[in-house]
Symmetry: C2
């Protein structure tokens, strides 16, 4: 069976929450997960939506809801001063590393999310990105440099375009054998789908 | 303990899905539910959001997701030709009836939601609204007339303003002792909150 496709934006708190669960959920059903960072902003240009944190009323809700959801899941959460950020550098670094070593890229994605939302570090800064890379046993300096390579920029643009072409517009947005599930609060439905094969 | 506040728009499919569950969830914890129809459009003027069904990509998702969610819950779903509609008449009728007979108003709200999303009937039309009223043992003709009374219009405007003042912006939007939960996919968190008293 094909891998579960896990689309997320490194700047999305709900993507972070889902990222702490998705591998375990998949593993319970013998499935793997392909982590696919992209920029939700790309989809927002198509949908006309605004980030919830920039929207009156939604913002107040999100600031209550995300920490509460993190407590329910038992995962650390600390909102960075730099939130929201444009997660281009981390995403490009991820795809560069994926080309070298997919398993390490996976570890990097988890570590980058943890650094930003678990510890409140600004992963849009070169030194923090480098530190995350180093913590995963890759060459952080090389990783941070790679994020500025034109070829890597082009690759990430292709990844964004491909996500958009699949109709992906949110974070997290999960495809299970083509079946779409949007939102961290749908993880129980993702699990049910894996368990039952659909309903 | 105070009633759980269940805010919804009669034109919202996710509000409908939640409406089929919320009373049972509350009853399991000895709680009652105050049903509070309002117009999400009122909040959208404040938030700048658009209905998902009018938004590219979101629309495609919703048309997959809502029937799938209904199947998971085992509740009927039929998208009306008249969807989306402006649910002013049904909402006004509800508040008028609530002033006469709160239990019957509750039954009316359930029946109106079922007529629109379970059977695909256009509840913005006077004859359908009247039929829903009749099916609940009230005088449907009187109910449909009441929805056009100026006093009832004013009352509904107050209800909308009050929802907005509480920060309500979605459908469903559920307040459990002041704690907000947005979305039909949060019902499991509402239940957990009732079970544990919060976390």
């Amino acid at each position: 069976m094909s891998a579960i496709e896990f689309y997320f934006d490194f700047s999305s708190p709900y993507g972070y929450l889902a990222s702490t669960q998705i591998d375990d959920i998949a593993a319970r059903y013998g499935r793997t997960v392909e982590w696919c960072p992209y920029l939700v902003g790309t989809a927002m240009k198509a949908t006309g939506h605004q980030p919830m944190v920039n929207t009156p009323m939604f913002r107040d809700y999100v600031l209550v809801d995300v920490p509460r959801f993190a407590r329910l899941l038992g995962v650390p959460f600390k909102l960075a001063d730099s939130f929201p950020l444009v997660a281009t550098a981390a995403s490009r670094a991820y795809y560069w590393l994926q080309g070298q070593d997919p398993e390490r890229a996976h570890a990097f994605a988890k570590a980058a999310y943890h650094a930003f939302f678990g510890e409140g570090k600004d992963i849009s800064k070169v030194d923090e990105l480098q530190a995350v890379g180093d913590s995963c046993g890759t060459d952080g300096k090389r990783l941070a440099e790679a994020a500025r390579d034109q070829a890597v920029k082009d690759l990430f643009k292709q990844k964004n375009d491909a996500a958009l072409a699949k109709g992906v517009f949110g974070s997290p947005y999960i495809l299970v054998d083509g079946e779409p599930f949007w939102g961290a609060d749908r993880l129980y439905q993702v699990e049910k789908w894996l368990e039952t094969g659909g309903w």
